[in-house]
Symmetry: C2
Subunit: 496 residues, 2 copies
């Protein structure tokens, strides 16, 4: 990219200044239209150390009302101390509808620094490039306007700027070891930037700015931003087409074919429960020590016994090392972002366990059936979810998904019991009864979901829960087995 | 406290087990009532390393629905790396109405460790004890049920437990250097715990549990929790009485007496603006290097020119080092917590500047006048806010508060202009017109606010803004002067 770029000659300062003023005025008007059109904008500003990314952002935001933007500067933590997946902090920063996020360097710098430091392997670097492409496509398909800029300066210019910053006591802190290292390794960085931009130019194209001419770079960036917003305002919110990448899938039975008769007697239940909980408790220590993140996903019919099942799994765990996330309808600030945002931001740190009581699969169940998203949205979600979960297992997470299953008669019996038992009444709402009416539609949606998202890396398990005790033992067994396997494989993985 | 405590004799295991079972059942029923009564609960569990805090929490939560509680384990960062005020992470953890937060050690351990490590002075330690008392009172007065437990074990017992944990590969990570240090310094810790508990026992009393008898400790903790919740359910949500501590105040003029005639001519404005912005830009570097946090608070009449004023202050700042927080009506998860929570959680890190576009003073203006809180609530708020701001300046923050002031005629002219200019129409709403009707009531409330909260450490400045340009220059001058002073005094402060 950089190689093929043709630099402009010197420009008339006054002309550039006038152009900036004009674009700034346009931007001033656009912010209100953005808000009305509820379009979210991400401006990624990558580039060399001391190329002027910060002062470029300063100019871009100078006339924007602070209610409409935020500036985020992600930090690059050494891989050994990194507690979250690669994309975590970038996803976390995405704006709400109608607002703009400026990223002062982002996923390109993050991936490249770790690769050039030999903190991640070439394979992992490639995986991150793939994740970036998936992330950018998911943003675009979810209606985000994304502008990607790279501020370029030559090696000599960088030298001069770093030297100047280092000379003053009050600016020397701006030059850190990473910057000096980048300067020494300018050539390797150049190749890496080129390679990265080449591989991530299809979904959302890169734009290169000439950092050696500050005013022209500001003008160019403003022009691109104004055009990006204009295009968004003209074409309206983009909704991506459904598509299907081939993921290695595990074949699942249809719900109707699941035998729900298994039971367990009380004595056996108590003995097994104790044994499995003791094992899980011991495993939690190992998980913590080996820093393996664990994500347990619960979905199931209303009154299937999710809550009690989760409590039996949580009981032996150290409360300092796990979280349960009950997922209800999204809050306004969640609803106004890409639908996976509220799950990304709830991910556990390495070595921690988190349990989702309902999950991102709401997209292809309730949101699909209640019309909370468009057909394209939920049809696209199968693949997006598979990508999301692959990013998690690539990171090293154990991802297990449980469909807690009962039949309609059992549900009716439990609903009636809840209705008639004062302490349980809070658990039953009119909505539960309404959902029950839609059992056939839900069953169809769930069958499709199980068929399309039970990947080898993040499989579904249908848990027969007409007998809740049987269901708890079965879930615990699956968890214990998976965690044992993960602890065993951890060493191999580290050597990979 | 610990000295005077009388330990119980050995108890019949089966009796204790039966009691636990009964309390657990009661708790199961209470969670729903808590939710209906919208009462938030904080259970602070302090105690010796290896005293069994974690397993105690495990028992307490075992039957509670995960939707109703969360467990938080604050970390104790070395003071030199601490980027937020002392109470920050504890305030951050407070639950929403109807929910329970279990704190696995909290503000006592945090304060004591730093003091015994000589990371903070005795004076600072005392200040933190005062802050804790204020925080606990604010929680209580804001309707929180707070239960404070200390799990005690003798030195010999601690030795045995630490030894046992260290023996297994899978549990040795549970014993860290702090734990070993605490064991060696058992006597100093004992004195410090005693002293701290003595000094923080008035607002919310401490309860000491015998950690050497695990089951009895669980039973005692459950009993206390059940009783605390019962009391809350019986007496209803507590609303604290107004009170006034004497803060050193700066006398403020009444708004009606402020001369709004000052203006600035255009040439002078441009020259001064450039000069002040350059100074501010340079100061931002020093602020960053010296790690001084800066909090700028904007309040003012609608259309007084807050937005444009803020933009002129923000323009020279490095976008990586400041945030603007526009404050609108609270979101549901904010409304369901103590009203200062949403401001605590938006505080800047050390070395960063944050600008609040509207602030916590909404409590004594719009919330007072629109009846969004009770009379007691807003009357109590003056003192609570003074305490909050003192915690900020104790931390080393520069806190400046601006009332951007105009007269009614100027507001009318600007409203009319907004209404008639298409690009400005989004800035004017029906609510603005409605608020305008209430000018006299607002003026009375603002006069009271200025009189009661212009403390020496966090003063108010009334900014004459009939001429917006004059207002901008005046604000910039105040900021520049205050930051210069803070940078100068920083060294003295460090030596304190």
């Amino acid at each position: 990219m950089l190689k093929g770029y043709e630099w402009k000659g010197k420009e008339d300062k006054n002309v550039v200044r006038a152009e900036i003023k004009e674009f700034r005025n346009t931007l001033l008007g656009q912010q209100q239209q953005l808000r009305d059109a509820k379009l979210p904008v991400i401006v990624l500003i990558e580039g060399w150390a001391a190329a002027g990314k910060g002062s470029l952002i300063k100019e871009l935001i100078s006339e924007i009302d602070p209610r409409f933007y935020s500036v985020v500067s992600p930090t690059i933590v050494p891989e050994t101390q990194e507690r979250y997946p690669f994309l975590y902090q970038y996803v976390k920063a995405i704006p709400q509808n109608g607002k703009i996020t400026f990223l002062d360097s982002g996923w390109m710098e993050g991936a490249i620094q770790k690769f050039l430091r030999h903190e991640i392997t070439k394979e992992e670097f490639r995986r991150r490039i793939r994740q970036v492409n998936e992330f950018e496509r998911q943003l675009r398909d979810g209606g985000y306007l994304v502008l990607k800029l790279f501020v370029h300066i030559e090696k000599d210019e960088q030298f001069e700027r770093l030297r100047k910053l280092s000379e003053s006591h009050d600016t020397e802190w701006r030059v850190n070891n990473d910057d000096l290292w980048q300067h020494r390794e300018y050539k390797r960085f150049l190749e890496a930037y080129d390679d990265f931009m080449d591989r991530t130019d299809d979904v959302i194209p890169w734009h290169i700015l000439d950092g050696s001419r500050r005013k022209s770079a500001v003008r160019d960036a403003m022009k691109l931003l104004v055009e990006t917003i204009d295009r968004g305002l003209r074409d309206g919110r983009y909704v991506g087409e459904p598509f299907e990448e081939e993921f290695p899938l595990i074949e699942m039975p249809r719900l109707a074919d699941v035998d729900l008769s298994p039971t367990i007697d009380d004595k056996e239940y108590k003995a097994q429960l104790k044994k499995l909980q003791d094992k899980l408790s011991a495993l939690h220590n190992v998980i913590y020590r080996k820093k393996i993140p664990v994500i347990l996903c619960y979905e199931g019919w209303d009154a299937a016994g999710k809550g009690g099942n989760i409590r039996r799994v949580a009981y032996p765990l150290d409360p300092r090392g796990f979280d349960v996330h009950p997922i209800a309808s999204p809050l306004p600030h969640e609803l106004n972002r890409q639908y996976l945002w509220r799950f990304w931001t709830r991910l556990p740190r390495t070595g921690h366990i988190c349990i989702f009581d309902r999950t991102w699969y709401g997209r292809v169940m309730v949101e699909r059936l209640e019309g909370f998203c468009s057909d394209r949205d939920w049809k696209r979600a199968y693949n997006e979810i598979n990508e999301f979960e692959r990013a998690l297992t690539d990171w090293g997470a154990v991802v297990l998904k449980f469909w807690i299953h009962i039949d309609q008669d059992t549900q009716l019996a439990r609903f009636t019991d809840r209705q008639n038992t004062p302490e349980k009444q809070w658990k039953i709402t009119d909505e539960d009864w309404r959902n029950r009416e839609k059992w056939p539609q839900y069953e169809e949606a769930i069958d499709e979901m199980l068929a399309k998202t039970s990947t080898k890396n993040a499989p579904w398990h249908i848990i027969e829960s007409n007998d809740k005790k049987y269901a708890r033992i079965r879930t615990l067994k699956i968890i214990v087995k998976a965690l044992e396997k993960a602890c065993d494989e951890h060493f191999e993985r580290m050597m990979d």
